[in-house]
Assembly symmetry: C2
């Protein structure tokens, strides 16, 4: 890198663009497909496929447990994997603000490459736009992923059925509270960090053992409560959740009490909801708990046929509370 | 739409997001895959595939001949098609600024849907982020496309060979000059408009008749000169171009003279470069000229083995000029 800040003409499509692409993106993302440097990538897959896209606008760019680059890989890898697919290929499109620190960009490109390697996906095609100062806040990244479906019928949001168990792979709310705390300069009695992680390998293990899984979904924006409402609506069932069974990191719980936030509505970026016939619940929990990203997996509730479309929380005192979808905006730009 | 401007909580992932997605995006983009509303789309394809991504940051959002929505569809459809693929599926990710006029957003979503229908592609998965005022300039769109490869070996940038003819499908520079003129409020003696168009159908016709095509590439950012330099570099050949054979709309030519711009470096968004064995040149030109997007197709030069990696322009007076890659930035945010 010859300059310490990104120049506007680096986005022209001309010589400066080609240097940036070669010296930075291809250097870190290098693989047999990307290195061909055509406008489109030639990939070999056999259908059916899962395809998913997400743009990441998180602020700040760096946070405990990750950065916008690792988040952009893991977020899309997870969305692809939730359809029961093995994530294989990613596109990666950067929108960069003129004047961005080149050292920040290089750190993020490295972390993007590391997250892709860990998730076992290749970044096969990309795009770089540099826009004038003020036209974007530092950096946004879009990733789009495709993967091969591993089981048919594949897990989908409309397949939850009465008699199914609802599992989560770990504690709720870590990512959302970490972003808020980092942004506002808050500190708690113990450090917290984002759960940002790719779940493709864990999902492959689950589906290999239990192809009958009905729904897999990652509770990102809007948190567990909003995601369960989506599933309840798509499947026309009720989700009945036991409040004291939902795993929440004690520091997140204390932080949420202090700030008036509900961990059930905070985003997660390395957790999954798994809905499957109750007879497989213990087996699925064992598989999750053996995985580095499923240590705190728990059976948090069940699918019933009362009140289709609703999510109900049973409190430790035996009360029932309707868990609605998130209405307003708890916190913008968490992903 | 209940409000005339976009609210921040529309990007929360909660109720307001779901309403926007249902009332706007799904309404206009509706198809059997998207309507499932899972985080990933389930698609049936048979490999090998072409995959390409592009983020569109064009300003202004509306311009003669198109808008950011039609541009986002056509730009990615073209990149996929240039690898000899039939574009089939698109993801579409919107980044929206709080306060955006809802009527502008709806116009753009409609135009996106129309461009997709015309190109014969389905928008199967999407993402919407709403960021606080000032974090993005109005609206950016990322599209990622996949398509099935129609011929093998497929056209790629490294396949240009001595003896090949270099064709273009029409006039050069219309898009770039239109964006500049719109932005700066310039008017010329006759109206000009962007050439923004999807070339998938034209490419399918070309490849069906002439599977031996070596290279297809769309001269977008950096224009014809920069794109030919890429190909010359990838293939290790020289591109020898006859200046008086390159079709340029007379109004674009006059506007460029006036502004000190070179149409060979201006972006196009509905044109292609086709490089193929010279014996097929006339056949390819006939096919192009019968298509609505190829009326002004021309044979502009040839591939030779002198000076590998170079693009040389032969002027009408017999002189030779080296056409280098674009060095700086002629005009930011043209796509």
């Amino acid at each position: 890198m010859q300059t310490t800040r990104l120049l506007l003409d680096t986005g022209s499509g001309g010589k400066a663009s080609h240097r940036l692409i070669k010296d930075l993106f291809v250097k870190h993302f290098s693989n047999d497909v990307l290195d061909k440097m055509d406008d489109a990538a030639l990939i070999n897959v056999t259908g059916p496929l899962a395809m998913s896209t997400d743009t990441f606008t998180v602020t700040p760019l760096f946070f405990p447990g990750g950065d916008i680059g690792s988040l952009a890989v893991n977020g899309t890898v997870n969305d692809v994997a939730m359809l029961g697919a093995r994530p294989l290929y990613l596109s990666c499109a950067f929108i960069l603000e003129e004047g961005l620190e080149m050292s920040d960009l290089e750190r993020i490109v490295q972390s993007t490459a590391q997250a892709a390697a860990k998730a076992g996906v290749k970044i096969v095609t990309g795009d770089t736009k540099v826009v004038p100062r003020g036209a974007v806040d530092k950096m946004f990244i879009n990733t789009t992923g495709i993967g091969e479906i591993m089981v048919q019928p594949c897990p989908q949001g409309h397949r939850a059925a009465p008699g199914d168990a609802i599992l989560v792979s770990g504690t709720m709310g870590d990512h959302g509270l970490t972003i808020l705390a980092t942004r506002e300069g808050l500190s708690f009695e113990a450090p917290i960090q984002s759960d940002c992680a790719g779940l493709g390998h864990l999902i492959a293990k689950l589906l290999q053992a239990i192809p009958e899984i009905h729904v897999l979904r990652d509770p990102t924006r809007g948190g567990l409560a909003t995601t369960l409402n989506e599933i309840a609506g798509q499947s026309g069932v009720q989700c009945l959740i036991r409040e004291d069974a939902v795993p929440v990191n004690p520091v997140v719980s204390a932080g949420c009490s202090f700030l008036g936030l509900d961990p059930l509505y905070l985003a997660n970026e390395g957790k999954l909801i798994c809905i499957l016939p109750a007879r497989y619940a213990e087996q699925a929990l064992s598989i999750m708990r053996e995985d580095e990203f499923g240590r705190n997996a728990a059976h948090i509730g069940d699918i019933t046929d009362e009140h289709p479309g609703r999510v109900v929380l049973r409190t430790p005192l035996g009360g029932h509370r309707l868990l609605d979808m998130l209405e307003g905006e708890q916190l913008p730009r968490i992903c």
